[in-house]
Structure formats: structure tokens, C-alpha cells
């Protein structure tokens, strides 16, 4: 729970910058559940990605024929494009609730469901095929990623992978570096108001710092260069037991609304001083599945009065002086961590950029709205700043000109 920055300059007048929300594609609005299923989102994803991958294949392996999963012939080299599906032995399954035998010991550590026997399967709308060979490490991939693979079918009906092509980083809009003044954006997450362990003093210090009520002139100057605060999820913590559909006693009603009121007070102070974006996270009073819709304004009667207060979706995307920001409250990376392996969290983030998909595990293991015509999680153009909230520690990495901030 700290804050971070982009470029910098000076003056005690708070800096302004041009803000443009790019959240539209994450908004669900009045769309309804009318019996649609998840196949459509996969279809949309595959369709879009395939066009992108096909355009690369020509340069990648110009002489190898491209075909569908069904078109492959035994022993003949070809390239196929499809969605990966990872068959996982240990993946928790809702049917387990019904198994007769209760196992006394949980089989795996609950935060990772990997197993050496996990098997990758490539699927397109025509069919699926098991992937073999050593090029492709099952531990690095997750269900839902679209890739092109080069190889051939073996006698046993497996597709022996010789090489693999991911989309790679998407195209990035030129960063306009004309302005020579420094401006800062504060990214915070996991305020967890209402959690027994959170210290109200820390939060107040943060607010005071941002609003310029703290520190010497130098610090205040820096504070004045903050042009925006983005709160990336998990701002409150509500005891979940209270929300079981039962009528609440008056005492519990207040327990429920107290943290939100407290948060509203903080936000009001912030919004009075600086433009503020608030994103919902997994513990916030918002819907569960991605994209999470903005927190309702009625929760923040105080802050919502200010026009500087913006309640946003998760994932959240915006442009600030033409600098493109994209980020989530962390669910996508947490889920990748459960179902795949990497050196650190930044690797996961880097992968999502290379797969040009924010949340490939949605809808498989990550809740997601069943979109029918699009896949909003595709990263069509590379953001300048890519951030993920609610992680254990702060890390950053610069990736070929892209800043990846990590909170």
C-alpha cells in the first residue's frame, strides 16, 4: 500500500492534465443474462487472435502450411492456431462437492493447483488435439491463451510441438514526450478499511500526504504534481458472513455500512483535492466476475458530490495527457499464479502482455461475464503504464519502453 509515480516538475498550484476514460469496453450496462454461454467469448477471442497470428505466421515460418486442428495429417508438418486448454488433475471442481468420500486432508496447498501431469490441449472450433514435445512447458501456460504452434501429428494422435508463436507485445501508440514537466499519478490498492488490522492513521497520513497537508515545501511540491489518484481495488473489507440473505439486526446493519462510511470520508478528502479514480476489487461491494462494474455512487454520498470523483470498472483503462494506463485490481494475476508458474509476479504480467490478453483464465477459472460478441480483455494496443493492484510487494519493470508498475 504505497504510491508511485511517472515523470516530474514544480509549483504549488496542483497540476492539471487531460483525462480520458477508456473504460467503455469494460462496461456491461444493461446487458442481460439470457442463457448465453461461455463458448461465445472463446470464439470471439480465437477469431480476433487468429487474424493477428495469421498475419505474423507468414513472417515466422513462410513455408509451413497453416491448417485447422482437424486438418492436420499424421507426420505432416504444419502450423495450427487455437486456444490452449490445460488439463489439470488437481484443479478444484464443483463436482467434488458431490463425491461421497470426504477426504480428511486437503490434497494440495490451496494457492497452486499445478501438477507434473498437467497436459496442454489445443483447441479451435473444429476440434482439439493433445500437445506433446518439450518445447511447450505446461507450467507456463494456462487455459484460454491463443497461440500458434508448429509441429506434426505423431502416431499416437498427439501433436508434437516444435515451435510456438505468441502474439508478442501489441502495438503501442507513440508516447508524446513533449511536455517537459513532471506529473505524478498515485496508484494505491488494498486500503482494506474495516479490516481489524488496518491502521486508520496510515490511511490518514496517505490522504494528508497527497492533499499536501504534510511535509516540508519540497514534499508539498511533489504532492502538488500529483495529477490523479487511482485506487486499484480492495478498498473496504466487509465481514462476508453478514451478507447471507438473512434480514439483518440493526446492530449488524451498522457493522456493514460503517467501513463504507469511513472510506467515504477518506475519499471525500481526496476528491476535494485531486481527481480520483476508484476501481472495485475482490473484497469490495461490487459484482464478482470480471469486468467488475463501478462501485455504486450511492455508497459514497460524500465523495460522489465532487466531479473529480470517478468510479471506474476493473480492469480500468484511461489516458492522461495521451499516456495510456491499463490496470486491474489483481484478480487476473492471482489466478494465473494459481494455475501456472513464473519467477515472479512481473513475469505473469509480462506474459499477459505477450499473450495480449489481460485475463486468459477468464472464464475458465476466473469469473467473467458471458459476452456474446467480443472479448473485452484483449489488449489491442499496448499501454504505457500497466499496473496490477493488491499484490504482496511493490515491484516494477521496464519492458521495451513500457513501464510496468506493480503494487
Amino acid at each position: 500500500m504505497e504510491a508511485m509515480e511517472v515523470d516530474g516538475a514544480s509549483n504549488l498550484q496542483r497540476k492539471q492534465s487531460l483525462y480520458q476514460s477508456k473504460d467503455e469496453r469494460f462496461e456491461i450496462r444493461m446487458e442481460k443474462y439470457t442463457g448465453q454461454q461461455y463458448s461465445q467469448i472463446y470464439f470471439a477471442r480465437l477469431h480476433k487472435m487468429r487474424t493477428l497470428l495469421y498475419s505474423l505466421v507468414d513472417k515466422w515460418k513462410p513455408h509451413v502450411p497453416v491448417c485447422t486442428v482437424l486438418g492436420i495429417e499424421e507426420g505432416k508438418e504444419c502450423i495450427i492456431v487455437g486456444t490452449l486448454y490445460k488439463h489439470m488433475k488437481l484443479k478444484p471442481c464443483i463436482l467434488d462437492e458431490y463425491s461421497k468420500e470426504r477426504s480428511a486432508v486437503p490434497v494440495v496447498k490451496p494457492h497452486n493447483f499445478m501438477h507434473p501431469d498437467d497436459q496442454l490441449i489445443l483447441e479451435d472450433e473444429s476440434g482439439r488435439v493433445k500437445l506433446g514435445g518439450t518445447v511447450l512447458a505446461a507450467s507456463n501456460y494456462v487455459t484460454g491463451v491463443v497461440v500458434a504452434v508448429h509441429g506434426k501429428e505423431t502416431v499416437s494422435g498427439e501433436f508434437f510441438v516444435q515451435d510456438i508463436l505468441e502474439r508478442g507485445l501489441p502495438h503501442q501508440i507513440e508516447l508524446p514526450l513533449d511536455s517537459r514537466e513532471d506529473k505524478y499519478v498515485v496508484l494505491v490498492s488494498g486500503l482494506s478499511v474495516g479490516n481489524g488490522k488496518s491502521n486508520p492513521l496510515n490511511l490518514q497520513l496517505l490522504v494528508d500526504h497527497i492533499t499536501g497537508h504534510l511535509g516540508d515545501e519540497k514534499e508539498q511540491r511533489i504532492a502538488s504534481q500529483i495529477v490523479r489518484v487511482v485506487i486499484a481495488g480492495n478498498s473496504v473489507e466487509i465481514p462476508h458472513g453478514l451478507l447471507n440473505g438473512q434480514t439483518l439486526a440493526a446492530k449488524d446493519q451498522s457493522k456493514l455500512s460503517e467501513p463504507i462510511k469511513e472510506l467515504d470520508i477518506l475519499l471525500t478528502q481526496l476528491a476535494a483535492a485531486v481527481p480520483l479514480d476508484i476501481m472495485p476489487g475482490s473484497s469490495d461491494p461490487a459484482n464478482f466476475s470480471l469486468p467488475q462494474q463501478p462501485l455504486h455512487r450511492c455508497l459514497f454520498p460524500g465523495a460522489s458530490v465532487y466531479n473529480t470523483f470517478m468510479s471506474c470498472t476493473n480492469p480500468h483503462s484511461f489516458e492522461l495527457d495521451s499516456v495510456r494506463f491499463l490496470g486491474t485490481s489483481g484478480q487476473n494475476i492471482d489466478d494465473l499464479e494459481k494455475y501456472s508458474e513464473a519467477k515472479d509476479k512481473l513475469d505473469f504480467m509480462e506474459r499477459t502482455l505477450r499473450w495480449i490478453h489481460l485475463a486468459p483464465t477468464a472464464p475458465n477459472t476466473l469469473g467473467c461475464y458471458p459476452f456474446t460478441d467480443r472479448d473485452p480483455f484483449l489488449i489491442e494496443s499496448c499501454p504505457h503504464v500497466y499496473f496490477v493492484g493488491n499484490q504482496i510487494k511493490y515491484e516494477t519493470r521496464l519492458l521495451k519502453g513500457n513501464v510496468a508498475a506493480f503494487l
Partner: protein
């Protein structure tokens, strides 16, 4: 070596068609398979010294006698055909000549050799008279005299003269027996009727017994003793003729306990039914056949293919063959069978559905050459209706399809036989054993998929393949082949008998084998309708019901009934008739008088056959178990484990055989004696335990027998620890065993702690075999698997027992029950938990009493004939609220319909008729006033009923928005809350959104799970498996989600 398995005694009338006609029908894609065959043939080495095969089937046919092998006889005779596999995997057909059908009668006193020839003439004349149309030159071939003894009753004389009557053909046995039983006039002896012996033994079984061949036996035919058949009539790679006396049967030991490399074909068909009808072969085409062929012992099939009608997109790893006409599909399948030449054909419900359907469909299409699926050229497969009825398994109608030379193994039959499950659909069986859900495509959708394009047909083909794959998986997982082959070897009957017949044939086979060694003959008793007398069954000691929180030691009699029979020498041949008891004046030290009043001689006078069989079985089991411990190779282990299981089951079925009043050889004197001894022993044990383990006898507590079942006694020694109870249990077992005649033995096996004794045959407890950890929770007779209960009952009972026994948390269990009841009354219950399922076996008119599921099926048919359940389907329903006084059967409703229309569930019905009894049973021993506490407490006061959206009064109701907070009506549609609730916005919004979030979690989990089951991400889920536990939840989640989203949208961003 060739391996053969036996098959049943079917008389095959050959229906021959011209060979030219058949060969004219070769299909295009034959080329590949030709090559396959060619390569197989190239591997085939000529048998050098000794062909030997494991029998897969034995049939017999009537044919001309083999001139070379049997030079001295003429006329038609039965030729046995043994089909099998060699060790190298070649198929074999062996024609066995010279074995003649026969039976025995007791020789009338004073009959001389002259009389015999006169008797022969008379009998021959009568036979001719009866079979006037037959062209057989001689009916009764020979009559010979032997010295034998009947198995029935103790006799002092060692033997009597018996006549062996040899007839020309097996079918004549029954006719001849009839003549003899009705009586025959013989000059000089007068009219006499004869009792026949062993006249009801099936011909093939007779052959097997006489040649010492058991099911799944290795048979060797020495070089030079067989002749290669000149004009082959089968498709087998090896075909030859030999005499029955030349066969060498190898006992299944060592080298010969192995299995031959059978080819196992697993297949499934799909038919395109018309809307609203179950597919019928006269109308509906077969559109796909999926096949998997596996070599016995290998994990992966080596052939996977699917034959489809109309084009079908390719499937990776599967050979997809598409054809334009149904005729081609069927013929391709026939050719495939012939080419692959499977020894065993498996599938799910193939005997009742798939195979008959294919054959009847071919008939409807007039493809005369289709049903040549067997190993005999030009011989058609026929379908016969059979009824199989057994005391143990109940009556089942089925169809018998005889495929020469191949064994059919229907997994459904095996499941129904060996396992008690709540549902036998392939879906639930595979969920149970393999832990996999299978997608279930409703037959009305199948036609739509077929009528789509090659993609949709591919979809169907994938489904069809899965259906063919699952039986194979089940077969492997449950090691059915091993278990059945071993059972066949132990009991000496062919494998197909094991599925199609009851227990008694197995005992009969053993009895006949043993009797033959002992020179005994077994009378053929006419079956007498229903059993005339019943005898007192096994007793149970009065159960002292209650919840025991001290360890309860259980003393078990090891194989009680077999031991009693052995200990007291109970057998047909040791039973002394009451008349003989008076006449023979046997010394009392030589006889046992049983508690039921029968007299049996002791083994020094006459050793019984049944005790001998049992001794052998149990000794063999001991050996198998010892070998099992030694065995390293998993395949060998599988064989041995199958064997010890088979031996155990066989030993226990002997008692049942003697008690089966409609069986082959009932003898109630034996069975009632066995149970009476059993009772005596239980009581004896109780007495001894309660006498010895007392404070007076120096023990800390007085032992108390709280319950005794058929072969076990539960004792509360009063000690507080499991370990102490175990020690006392062992001591008691040893002490009491010493007072019994060998081999009756009381064993200490386990301790229950805690133990909830509900009533006799109903209990639950934690099962301990070592003092450190309990092994499992053991329940008996408690609603955990009954199929006519809804899932709620099962879950509730299981959870309560878990809480009571494992967590030792009775208040927790009570609270759990209360919460569940409250959830039920408040309409918060997952609907799938309330679904009750019943099979629809007949149409409504045929049921005498109106039944809920039948009425519902009728109503559904009126709504939509296409998706309504048909006869044979299982009908799921829930009980809904209806007008006062409506009968229970009128209140049944389709769960989907209930979901869609918000029909209120009749929670009172569930409370009173479903959950109250099982709950009270559990809680009554524990709680005072259980009924009051659980079923009438304050938690039952709040009731919420959903309002139906389409019925009755609701049509007149006007929809109005209400405040989300307090349900007050709101006039202005723009608002979400009434003025009173304005201040609670945040709190109320949190609740709404939390509800949405919960539903979203569920929605995501459920629908992705279904995608996983169907094995495709890019296609919609079509599964309508109502057996699947999440089917209704998935539907409900979809609907709730839509509603919750609407609620949320009222908040307007």
C-alpha cells in the same frame, strides 16, 4: 497355445446364405484392413507341436459325423465348437467330435442285461413315435449299466445299479426324460416310471464337466491328434477337428493362470429418433457407430473409429468413416467386426439395445447379409427375448443375441449384478467409479445434430466415442474381465453364464464335478412352482438401541454358514431321512442332530460333498490370498484378487443353493439346519460373553451384548478406550472359538466407537481396526443410497452422522438440521437436492395405482411431446404446492418447469415425507423429544413461498415495483427505494451486489465445469443429463443470475 472360454449351451440352427452373395458385398475401404489382416497373417506361425487355446465360447451344432475321426457311426451328431485365442493372439475354432449327450436313471431291481436290451427297444420305439418327423436313424444310441449312488440321503450301501442312456442329439434328452418320467410299459416288469438323474445338465456344461474343462480354461490339442479342416466354415485363423477325448485341459495354475490376449471391442451406436419417440428400429436410422478395440491387458485401444451416416469432420486420433447410406454404415460395421475379429464385445446396454437394434434395423432395411457377425461363415445372428429371473437379482427381461464365437459382455448387466447403485445410467455409473461426469445428449437433440452439418455430426461422433470408451474404462477399472474369468475358473461355468444366469448354476457345476469324482449322481428334480415351505431365517439378537459412547467390540464368525456346513458335515448325502433314522439305528455318536430336528451322519460314516467343496474353496482362497501377498506383477495380482473374491462368493452361495426352493436341487433340511445352528451360535456367544466378562470374573466392567446380527455379535465391554476393547475382543474371540467345533471360528475384527444403534440392521459408527486411527465411517441400512429419496435426505443424513460420529458434536448436528429445515422452508434450497427420480417402466394406463412420475410424464407429453420422458427413461420430479387436498401424484412437477415458472415447492411435503423419518431415526436414540426439537422448533416458523408466475390468480395480478429494502410499493418506476429506506442505500446495495457476486461465482463454476465435461471451449453446452448433480443448479444459476442482474440494474449507475 490357444485359449478358450466357454459359452452357453445354445443350439445353433444355421441359417446359411450363399457364399457368393456374401462376397459380392465388399466395401471400398476394405483395402487398409486387408493389409492389416495380411500383416496379422504373416505373423501367424503354423502350430508346430501343441495348439492350445483359452476357451471363449462353446456352442454346438448338429452336423454330420466326422468320417475320419469317427469311422464307426453315422447320422447327425452334436459337434461342439470351441472358440478361443492362442497365446500369440490367433483366433481358433476347434470342432470337437464324439461327445454324446446322456443321462442316468436308476435301474429297476432285478433287471438283467436282456431286460436292458428290451427296455432299449421300447424306449427307442416311443422316441420314434414322439419324433415322427425326424429323419434320425437311431434315437437312443446305447444303454449301459453302471454302479453308482444317488447323492440324496445317507445310504449304507455304497452303490446301486444305474442305467446310462446315451441319445443321439442333445435335444432328445428332454424328450426322453419326459417319456421315462411319465412311465413306460416293459414286458415282464410292468409299467414303471423312472426318476432321471442329471438330465437337466446343459450339453456344453456336461461336456466341460466330463472333460474337466472350466470357464476360461487353457486347452491343448496335441500335435497329430487333430485334423485341419479342409473346408473351413469359420473366420478363425486356425480351424481343425478333433475328438473330445484328445483334449488336454490345463488347470489354471502357474503358466496357465494367465489371460490370453483377447481382443475386446467396445462399441456404441446412435440412432436418430423422431421427436417425441424413443428410437425404434422399424423407423429410425442408425446414424453412427463408434468402436474401440483393445488388446486385453493393454491400457490404450489400438483401434478407434467411428462410422457415420453422412459426412463428418475428422477427429484427431480417430478414423472417421462416413457413408452416404445407412446400408453402407451397417455393412461397414459388419466388415469391421469380421476383420478385427473381437473375442469379447462390450458396451453399455448392448444386449438390450445396441445389438438388437442393429439387427432389427438391418432387417427393416432388408439387408439380409448384415447379421453375419459371428465367427461362423454364413451364419446369422438372431435375437431372442429372454427373461432372467433369480431370487437374488429379481426378474429382468432382456434380449439374447447370439454371436457365434464371441462373448458379449454388457457392462450394464454386470453393474446391476455386482453393485447396488442409485442409478445405473452410464453417466452416474462412470461418475461413481471413474469420477467423471459424462455429457448426456437428449435423444431429441441427436436428430438435430445429425441434420446439421459435418461439424454437428462430428460433435455427435465425439459423444458417441465417449460412450464407447467409458465401458472399456469401467471394464479396466473394475477389473471385470479378471474377476469374471476367475469366477468361471473357480466354479467351472462359462463366462456368459455368469452374466445371464443366477447363482445356482455355479454351485450346480461344482456339485456335478465333485459328484462325478465320487461316483454319485444327482437327481433331476422337477421344479416346483413357488417354494412350499419357508424356514426361519437368520436371527438377530434384539437390538438395544441407543447411542454408545464407549467402544463396541464386534466379534464376527468367519464364513459362518460354510463353516457350519463343514463342522456338522451337512450335505445331501449325509442327511438321514426320518424313516431311516428309525430303521438304521445309527449310534448316536455317529450322527448330529441339528437344532432344527434333522439328522446328519458324521464324517466318519460318510463325508459330505458340500463340506468337501467348501473346504476346497476356502483352502483355495487361503492360497490365493497368500499368493496375492507374494505377487509383484500387477496383472498377476489382479488375477489372484479376482480369484479370492470369486472363491469367497462361491463359498457363500452354496448355502443359498440348498435353500433356493425353485432351484436345481433344493434341500431345506440343510438350509434350515444351517440357520438354526447359526442362531444357536449367536446365542451361545452372547451367553458366554456375558458370563465370563463380569466384575465377578475379575474384569473391570460387566460386558453387555447389545446386538447380534447374522454372523456378528456386538459387545460393550464397558472399557473406555479402543485399545482396551480390542484386547478384550481378541480374548473373547479366542475363548469362545475354543468352544466350537472346527472350523467354526469367532474372530475379532473391529471396534465401533462411537456407535449409533438405531434398530436391527440399521446402525452407524466409526470403524476402528487399529487403536490409533479410525478407518472409516460405517453405516448400514441408513438412507444414504436409496434411490427414491431426494439428495437432500442423503446429504442431511451423511452430514449429521459425520457431525455426530466424527466431530462428536451433537449440538452442531442439531443446528445443522435446523438450518437445513429453515433453508427448506425459506425456499433457499438448491432444487437439485429436492429432485426425486423414478424410472418410467410402462405407460400411464398400465399402472394400476396412479404414481407421481407417471402422471407427470403424461402432463409433460401434453405440454411438449418432443422432450417428454418416454418409457424406459428416468423421470425426475419435485413435489410442488397445489390446491388443498390434491393427491401427492398430482403435485409432481418437472424441475425445469418449476424453475422457469417459479412454482413453489411443497416444503411441508419434504419435511414430513422425506426428511423427518430418517432424521428421527438418527436422533431418537440421542435426543429426548427429538421430533419436537428438530421438526417443530422456532426455526420452522419463518416460511417463504415463491409466487408462481404463470398460474391461476397471478394472471389477474398487476406487477408493481416494490422497494428493495422493505417491499413497500413504489409508484415511481425511477426509484429503487421507498422514502423510508433512503438512508440505508449503502447497506441495501451491498446486499444486492453481494447476492449478485455469489451467483456470479456459482454461474462461472458451473458453466465452465460443463464445458470441461463436454471437452470443448468453443461450442455451446448441450448436455441435458438429469443424473448430473449440477444440471439443475446450472439451470437455476442461469435463471437466478438473470433475475439478480435485473435487480441490480434497478440501482442505475
Amino acid at each position: 497355445m490357444e485359449e478358450e472360454e466357454m459359452d452357453e449351451d445354445v443350439f445353433l440352427e444355421e441359417t446359411l446364405i450363399l457364399r457368393d452373395e456374401e462376397e459380392a458385398l465388399i466395401l471400398q475401404d476394405e483395402e487398409d484392413r486387408r493389409q492389416l489382416l495380411a500383416s496379422r497373417l504373416s505373423k501367424w506361425k503354423r502350430p508346430t507341436s501343441s495348439p492350445c487355446n483359452l476357451i471363449t465360447r462353446i456352442d454346438y451344432v448338429i452336423g454330420e459325423r466326422h468320417k475320419d475321426l469317427l469311422p464307426n457311426s453315422s447320422g447327425p451328431a452334436a459337434i461342439l465348437r470351441i472358440f478361443g485365442v492362442t497365446r500369440e493372439g490367433h483366433s481358433v475354432c476347434c470342432h470337437v467330435h464324439g461327445f454324446e449327450p446322456y443321462f442316468y436313471i436308476s435301474c429297476p431291481q432285478g433287471m438283467t442285461p436282456d431286460d436292458i436290451s428290451r427296455f432299449h427297444q421300447v424306449l427307442e420305439a416311443r422316441m420314434k413315435e414322439v419324433n415322427r418327423n425326424s429323419r434320425v436313424p437311431k434315437f437312443v444310441l446305447r444303454i449301459e449299466m453302471f454302479q453308482k449312488r444317488s447323492i440324496m440321503y445317507y445310504q449304507q450301501l455304497q452303490s446301486h445299479p444305474f442305467l446310462k442312456i446315451v441319445v443321439a442329439l442333445p435335444t432328445m434328452v428332454a424328450g426322453c426324460r419326459g417319456i421315462l418320467e411319465r412311465g413306460l410299459h416293459i414286458d415282464g416288469l410292468g409299467t414303471k416310471s423312472f426318476m432321471t438323474y442329471e438330465s437337466n445338465v446343459l450339453f456344453a456344461l456336461r461336456f466341460m464337466i466330463d472333460c474337466n474343462i472350466v470357464g476360461g480354461n487353457w486347452i491343448e490339442v496335441p500335435a497329430g491328434k487333430y485334423k485341419k479342416t479342409t473346408k473351413t466354415i469359420s473366420y478363425c485363423q486356425l480351424e481343425f477337428d478333433c475328438l473330445y477325448s484328445e483334449l488336454i485341459s490345463h488347470p489354471p495354475e502357474g503358466e496357465f493362470s494367465k489371460m490370453a490376449p483377447f481382443r475386446v471391442l467396445s462399441f456404441d451406436i446412435e440412432c436418430a429418433g423422431r421427436k417425441g419417440h424413443f428410437p425404434e428400429p422399424s423407423h429410425d436410422p442408425v446414424i453412427q457407430v463408434a468402436n474401440l478395440v483393445t488388446l486385453q491387458g493393454e491400457d490404450q485401444p489400438f483401434v478407434r473409429n467411428v462410422m457415420t451416416l453422412k459426412s463428418c469432420s475428422p477427429i484427431v486420433g480417430v478414423d472417421v468413416m462416413s457413408f452416404d447410406t445407412e446400408r453402407e454404415v451397417l455393412l461397414a460395421w459388419r466388415d469391421f467386426i469380421r476383420e478385427v475379429d473381437p473375442d469379447i464385445i462390450i458396451g453399455y446396454n448392448i444386449c438390450k439395445f445396441d445389438l438388437p437394434y442393429l439387427i432389427e434395423r438391418a432387417e427393416a432395411l432388408k439387408i439380409a447379409e448384415f447379421p453375419i457377425l459371428g465367427r461362423i461363415r454364413n451364419s446369422r445372428v438372431r435375437v431372442k427375448d429372454t427373461t432372467f429371473s433369480s431370487r437374488q437379482y429379481g426378474t429382468r427381461e432382456s434380449k439374447e443375441v447370439t454371436v457365434e464365437g464371441r462373448v458379449q459382455f454388457d457392462l450394464l448387466q454386470a453393474m446391476q449384478r455386482d453393485y447396488k447403485l442409485s442409478s445405473y445410467s452410464l453417466n452416474s455409473v462412470s461418475a461413481h467409479f471413474l469420477g467423471e461426469q459424462k455429457e448426456d445428449v437428449h435423444h431429441s437433440i441427436i436428430s438435430d445434430l445429425q441434420n446439421g452439418n459435418s461439424e454437428t455430426r462430428r460433435r455427435l461422433a465425439v459423444y458417441c466415442l465417449k460412450d464407447a470408451y467409458l465401458p472399456q474404462r469401467l471394464l479396466d477399472k473394475l477389473m471385470l474381465i479378471y474377476n469374471y474369468v476367475e469366477m468361471g475358473r473357480v466354479t467351472g461355468v462359462p463366462i456368459s453364464f455368469l452374466l445371464s444366469r443366477g447363482q445356482s448354476i455355479k454351485v450346480l457345476s461344482q456339485l456335478l464335478r465333485k459328484a462325478k469324482q465320487k461316483n454319485l449322481v444327482i437327481p433331476s428334480v422337477r421344479k416346483q412352482g413357488s417354494g412350499e415351505g419357508t424356514f426361519e431365517g437368520a436371527t438377530v439378537l434384539e437390538a438395544r438401541t441407543g447411542f454408545y459412547e464407549k467402544p463396541i467390540a464386534t466379534l464376527d464368525f468367519a464364513s459362518l454358514y460354510p463353516s457350519i456346513m463343514m463342522a456338522y458335515n451337512l450335505c445331501y448325502c449325509t442327511l438321514v431321512t426320518p424313516e431311516d433314522v428309525r430303521k438304521l439305528n445309527l449310534p448316536p455318536e455317529c450322527v448330529n442332530k441339528t437344532p432344527s430336528g434333522e439328522t446328519f451322519v458324521k464324517s466318519n460314516l460318510q463325508k459330505g460333498i458340500l463340506p468337501e467343496i467348501l473346504e476346497e474353496l476356502l483352502a483355495a482362497r487361503k492360497r490365493a490370498k497368500a499368493d496375492l501377498k507374494e505377487a509383484k506383477d500387477p496383472l498377476e495380482k489382479a488375477v489372484l484378487d479376482g480369484r479370492q473374491l470369486a472363491l469367497k462368493v462361491s463359498a457363500n452361495s452354496v448355502y443359498g443353493f440348498t435353500g433356493a426352493t425353485v432351484g436345481q436341487l433344493p434341500c431345506l433340511e440343510i438350509s434350515s439346519s444351517v440357520t438354526s445352528y447359526g442362531r444357536q451360535m449367536i446365542e451361545h456367544t452372547k451367553k458366554l460373553v456375558e458370563e465370563k466378562f463380569t466384575t465377578l470374573g475379575g474384569y473391570e466392567h460387566n460386558a453387555e451384548v447389545i446386538y447380534g446380527d447374522t454372523d456378528s455379535v456386538m459387545v460393550q465391554f464397558g472399557v473406555p478406550t479402543v485399545e482396551a476393547a480390542m484386547n478384550l475382543g481378541r480374548e473373547a474371540a479366542e475363548y469362545i472359538s475354543g468352544t466350537f467345533i472346527k472350523p467354526i471360528k469367532l474372530e475379532f475384527e473391529k471396534v465401533y466407537y462411537p456407535y449409533l444403534l438405531i434398530s436391527k440392521k440399521r446402525y452407524a459408527g466409526l470403524y476402528w481396526t487399529n487403536p490409533d486411527r479410525f478407518d472409516k465411517m460405517d453405516t448400514k441400512g441408513i438412507e444414504t443410497v436409496r434411490r427414491d429419496n431426494c439428495l437432500l435426505v442423503k446429504n442431511l443424513v451423511t452430514e449429521c452422522l459425520h457431525k455426530i460420529l466424527i466431530d462428536r458434536d451433537i449440538p452442531g448436528a442439531v443446528q445443522f438440521v435446523k438450518n437445513t429445515i429453515s433453508d427448506l422452508l425459506m425456499n433457499r434450497m438448491d432444487l437439485s437436492l429436492l429432485v426425486i427420480t423414478k424410472g418410467l417402466t410402462k405407460t400411464g394406463d398400465d399402472y394400476a395405482v396412479k404414481a407421481a412420475h407417471v402422471e407427470l410424464a403424461d402432463r409433460m407429453r401434453k405440454r411438449d411431446a418432443a422432450t417428454a420422458p418416454n418409457v424406459g427413461d428416468r423421470v425426475p420430479y419435485v413435489i410442488v404446492k397445489a390446491a388443498k387436498g390434491a393427491k401427492a401424484y398430482e403435485r409432481s412437477e418437472d424441475p425445469i418447469y418449476v424453475l422457469e415458472n417459479n412454482i413453489p415447492i411443497d416444503s411441508q411435503y419434504y419435511l414430513e415425507n422425506q426428511i423427518s423419518k430418517p432424521l428421527l431415526r438418527i436422533f431418537e436414540p440421542i435426543l429426548k423429544n427429538a421430533s419436537k426439537e428438530l421438526l417443530h422448533g422456532s426455526h420452522t416458523r419463518a416460511v417463504s413461498i415463491s409466487t408462481p408466475s404463470n398460474s391461476g390468480i397471478m394472471k389477474f395480478a398487476k406487477k408493481q415495483l416494490s422497494c428493495i429494502g422493505c417491499k413497500a410499493l413504489i409508484s415511481n418506476a425511477e426509484q429503487t427505494l421507498c422514502s423510508h429506506c433512503k438512508g440505508r442505500e449503502a447497506e441495501l446495495y451491498c446486499k444486492t451486489v453481494a447476492n449478485v457476486a455469489d451467483l456470479e461465482i456459482l454461474f462461472g463454476k458451473l458453466w465452465t465445469q460443463c464445458q470441461e465435461c463436454q471437452g470443448s471451449l468453443h461450442q455451446d453446452v448441450l448436455c441435458t443429463s438429469r443424473d448430473c448433480p449440477i444440471f439443475y443448479r446450472r439451470k437455476k444459476a442461469q435463471k437466478d443470475m438473470a433475475e439478480a442482474k435485473l435487480q441490480l440494474d434497478r440501482w442505475q449507475y
